[in-house]
């Protein structure tokens, strides 16, 4: 564990994230052009999708995949309930904001998964390729639960349905992740070889620059955060700990290998800050982005990158060991 944590903190990937946090805290003007940041996130999703697909093409499909996908959808649907109760009771958040935040914690963070993938690889416990598909299917179900919670007992403003469903089920990241996953599975190792230099060799370097940007954005949000109470801050750390632990246990229970179980834990522990916020602006515009983004992006995301990943990896190992 110590060794792991250590190696984590000397990895350029993590160090660039810390640099971003530091630079923003010092109020430096350093900024990554938005088009570049967006481009890098598309690249990361395409690359992780391809790799996952290729891995599946190599390993072939087994029952494990079905279990993992099912577990992913169910947890994504149910986890918001847990979060919702805590947000209402402990943080005394109103129904709408509680529902919005809950949706974020039921969903997942692509970059957290990508980073975990790298770290777990270094720790010789790489997750199974199909975990990328699990990542994709976990992104949206939580949005439905969150909306139901936020609107229960209210007449829902139905007129923007179409927009919302498109945003939810065809949102860019889901389409790109599943699409490149399929491409990887079809092209297989031979087909992947031709594009490997870009999508494999360049991967970690791009991740460095992307995490630099994430560090900058996360810290800036926190500095400008107005609506963040200490109770919310506490939950932003408690959620990943609890959800992550539950995730690792479920993962191990359904028979995933330690690496995949750890990855599943990370997925449960992570909170969305791309797909869900966009959906919330459409469906719950009254909810305050100052709350859900500060929590998911400025607190939970750094916590998972810096602590969560190593933590759940260790947990998965010990569970597997026992």
């Amino acid at each position: 564990m110590d060794l792991i944590a250590l190696s984590t903190f000397t990895s350029p990937v993590i160090l660039f994230f810390l640099l971003g946090l530091l630079a923003a805290t010092l109020r430096s003007e350093l900024a990554i052009p938005e088009a570049m940041a967006k481009g890098m996130s598309l690249y990361l999703m395409a690359a992780i999708g391809l790799k996952g697909g290729v891995a599946v093409a190599e390993s072939g499909i087994d029952a494990g995949i079905a279990f993992a996908l099912l577990a992913g959808i169910v947890t994504s649907l149910l986890m918001p309930l847990l979060a919702y109760i805590a947000l209402r009771q402990f943080a005394r958040l109103d129904q709408i904001n509680a529902g919005a935040v809950a949706a974020h914690y039921g969903s997942v963070s692509v970059v957290t998964f990508v980073t975990a993938n790298e770290v777990l690889g270094v720790m010789a416990m790489p997750p199974a390729g199909y975990m990328v598909a699990v990542l994709a299917v976990m992104e949206t179900p939580a949005i439905l639960t969150g909306l139901l919670l936020a609107r229960k007992g209210q007449a829902r403003a139905g007129h923007d349905r179409g927009e919302l469903w498109r945003e939810v089920f065809l949102n860019a990241s889901v389409v790109l992740l599943l699409g490149s996953f399929a491409i990887g599975a079809i092209a297989g190792p031979k087909g992947f070889a031709e594009v490997k230099p870009l999508f494999d060799s360049g991967f970690k370097g791009v991740l460095c620059l992307f995490l630099l940007d994430m560090g900058l954005i996360a810290a800036r949000r926190l500095l400008d955060a107005r609506s963040l109470t200490w109770r919310l801050a506490v939950l932003a750390i408690a959620f990943p700990l609890v959800n992550g632990t539950i995730g690792v246990i479920i993962g191990t229970a359904i028979g995933l290998d330690p690496g995949s179980a750890a990855a599943f834990g990370i997925l449960c522990a992570s909170a969305s800050y791309i797909a869900v916020p966009a959906a919330m602006r459409l469906a719950l515009p009254q909810a305050d982005p100052g709350i859900y983004l500060s929590m998911s992006l400025s607190l939970t995301f750094p916590f998972n990158i810096l602590v969560g990943i190593s933590l759940f990896a260790a947990l998965a190992n010990s569970l597997a060991g026992s």
């Binding site: 938005e34 107005r226 982005p289």
Partner: protein, 102 residues
Amino acid sequence: MIETIIRKRIEILVDSPLVRRVTAEIDAAGISGWSVLPVTSGSGRDGRWHEERVTGVDKSLVLSIASPEKASALAEALAPILTSHGLLLTMWDVEVIRGERF
């Protein structure tokens, strides 16, 4: 001296994910067209944001030229979501050259 027509210029500052909603209303109002300009950062009650398209909370500026009638029809149509979705709608009179088509 070249003749000009008075038209309404409507500018709507809106969350980017909502642009489709707004432009759909513009089309529905029978207005001949619209244009969208990027917004890089801003600050309001919800605090400050900067180049955060990555988090889907950035804004766009939808601009449209229309006749006064169509303009207020559009305003009516957008009224229900104006405050709920935090739209910022401003309009004013402008001279348009060769603007018969608007």
